[in-house]
């Protein structure tokens, strides 16, 4: 009986032959990522060693990555103190993959990991962040865990008692229409299978449209797989993965391309024709409340956000700039741009995208997650509506339970910025 990609990765990492969905294993972890919540991980980690007489040392400092991105620069003394404690721990444990608040190497964890080549195809990646699913874009099995679970990983080097998840195969054929993007694909899929449609399962992506998709786009679909409840999303590694790792992440060593077997056993198979997709919007307050953008056209909005771990990459900023070029952002909206990393920002500066968007009226904010989860900058007022390229629209998101967040692609966000109302970018020749 054949194996899915994740069954193969876990078999390798657990040193057990031929695992299948439902088996319980303890795979070795290749990458263990945390951000500011490392403050809690450290607390729990020290608790594990309490009264044992054993020195609390992490299993392998080279496999731990810590990135400050949720509240940068610190929005409060409390956060600053937590960040200080993490810095001290990082130094004491000899953790070198540490990305502090810096304008050259900083950024959002789900961009820092890929752009630095920290994740390789076939790796087991855990992160104290639900969007750790993103790294499936590089053919890794990547999933979110809580802080105490991470403390255990730091101590033992393995992910404890994992049930091998079943896999849903999603086959995407055809070619995207102009201004329709991977974001529209994943919103469509979530709307189709619901916010719990993939609970405790993996989504494995296949098909022409995936083969032709850049790593940047694959990061979008894997990132938001968790919004359908998936343990992880994964695109089996291919030539594009190798291109990305070599050209954009500077990886020089061997890369193995783990593929599923032809006779792998899937929980179910879903087929989608990309050429039939239109721009999608997830309406408040669940990510599966998805409608075509055209159905919401004309709805007034107060704030537009382009950025985050979902859609803050160079190609996202480029498409927005293309739509904005030579025009002015509506005076009825405020537009905020959060690039995904310092490196993305530097590239966008070089391409003069940042200057263009700024002159059109957008506010450029430093790379970070704060706005999306409502902890730092860009909070909404009572009764206000945001249209955002981020990944969640739950009540209370963007800092106000009396506001609404609609989710969309960068193209839809940019087209709507010009009009001040929700606008389908494929219509009206904007």
């Amino acid at each position: 009986m054949g194996m899915t990609v994740v069954e193969k990765i876990l078999s390798r990492a657990a040193g057990v032959c031929c695992l299948k969905a439902g088996d319980v294993v303890e795979p070795a972890v290749d990458v263990a990522m945390s951000h500011e919540n490392a403050a809690l991980v450290i607390n729990q980690f020290k608790d594990i060693y309490k009264d044992t007489g054993i020195d609390a040392r992490v299993f392998d400092p080279s496999k731990i990555v810590i990135i400050f991105d949720h509240r940068v620069p610190a929005e409060s003394s409390k956060t600053a103190t937590n960040q200080k404690k993490i810095r001290e721990f990082v130094a004491a444990q000899g953790i070198s993959k540490f990305h502090d608040i810096r304008g050259d190497t900083g950024g959002i964890c789900h961009q820092i990991l890929p752009e630095n080549g920290y994740v390789r195809p076939g790796d087991v990646v855990v992160g104290t962040d639900s969007h750790t699913t993103s790294h499936g874009a590089l053919g890794a099995f990547a999933f979110g865990i809580g802080a105490t679970e991470m403390a255990s990983v730091w101590a033992l080097g393995s992910a404890l008692n994992i049930e091998v998840p079943a896999t849903i195969k999603v086959v995407v054929s055809g070619k995207f229409k102009k201004y329709v993007s991977p974001k529209d694909l994943i919103l469509h899929l979530i709307g189709k299978i619901s916010a719990e449609g993939a609970n405790f399962k993996v989504i494995e992506f296949h098909g022409d449209a995936i083969n032709n998709m850049s790593t940047s786009g694959r990061l979008v679909i894997c990132n938001m797989s968790v919004e359908a409840g998936a343990t992880s999303g994964i695109v089996p590694a291919d030539n594009e993965t190798v291109r990305y790792l070599r050209e954009e992440a500077g990886v020089k060593d061997d890369i193995s391309l783990v593929q599923p077997d032809k006779d792998a056993v899937y929980d179910s198979v879903i087929e989608i024709n990309a050429s039939k997709l239109v721009p999608q919007i997830a309406c408040p307050h669940t990510v599966d409340n998805v409608k075509p953008a055209s159905e919401l056209a004309g709805k007034k909005i107060n704030q537009i956000v382009i950025g985050s771990c979902t859609n803050g990459r160079l190609d996202d900023l480029e498409i927005a700039a293309k739509i904005l070029r030579g025009k002015k952002i509506s005076k009825d909206v405020r537009m905020l741009i959060f690039p995904a990393s310092a490196r993305v920002l530097a590239k966008a500066l070089k391409k003069k995208i940042i200057a263009l968007m700024s002159l059109m009226g957008a506010v450029i904010v430093n790379p970070g997650c704060g706005c999306c989860l409502g902890v730092h900058q860009g909070a909404l007022g009572d009764g206000e509506i945001a249209l955002s390229t981020t990944n969640r629209n739950f009540k209370g998101r963007m800092g106000n339970p009396n506001a609404e967040v609609y989710l969309c692609s960068p193209a839809t966000a940019a087209a709507s910025a010009l009009t001040g109302v929700i606008t389908d970018p494929t219509k009206g020749g904007k």
């Binding site: 679970e149 049930e163 969640r392 339970p401």
Partner: protein, 165 residues
């Protein structure tokens, strides 16, 4: 006996259980004050200790969806509440088991606020309505952690074994 103190629907996100704007607070001793912070009335009842340890929140499918923030489990554990839901999101369920929060998967549960529940190993018996609902076992992979009383004691045991103690 567990009294139903709060009834919720499907897809209750961790942003509802523990809003993102309080995430700078991480310690389990400090998180309970922000449990359901945007549900002012329930939050006030919790803080005024009008809810007894062992009382239950009843919810629909996908309880705890969204963020991996462990505060969403630790804030409820702080009041020793039980969560009886038709289903849980994966990361929340793991966090809850790791911290020893009592989570009960009960796919058919029917209960209203004020109802009295008797929770046995196999069933939830709604004493108010007289109906009995089957419990679905927690993931078998996590049984060793449940048996150890949570993930910290479990890992501590493993660390000691590793060091030959």
């Amino acid at each position: 006996m567990a009294k139903v103190v709060f009834k919720l629907g499907n897809d209750i996100s961790t942003d509802i259980i523990y809003p993102g704007r309080f995430m700078a607070t991480v310690l389990p001793t400090e998180t309970p004050q922000y449990a359901f912070a945007d549900y002012a009335e329930f939050n006030a009842r919790l803080k005024k200790k009008e809810v007894a340890p062992g009382d239950a929140i009843v919810a629909g499918l996908n309880f705890g969806c969204g963020s991996s923030r462990e505060q969403a489990a630790s804030c409820l554990k702080g009041y020793d509440l039980a969560v009886v839901a038709k289903g849980f999101a994966r990361i929340f369920l793991q966090n809850a088991i790791n911290l020893g929060l009592n989570t009960i998967i009960c796919p058919e549960i029917e209960a209203n606020e004020g109802d009295e529940l008797e929770i046995t190993r196999e069933d939830v018996i709604n004493k108010t309505s007289g109906k009995t609902f089957k419990i679905q076992p927690l993931p078998k992979a996590r049984q060793a952690i449940i048996d150890a009383g949570g993930l910290i004691p479990y890992t501590r045991k493993r660390v000691l074994e590793k060091h030959g103690r």
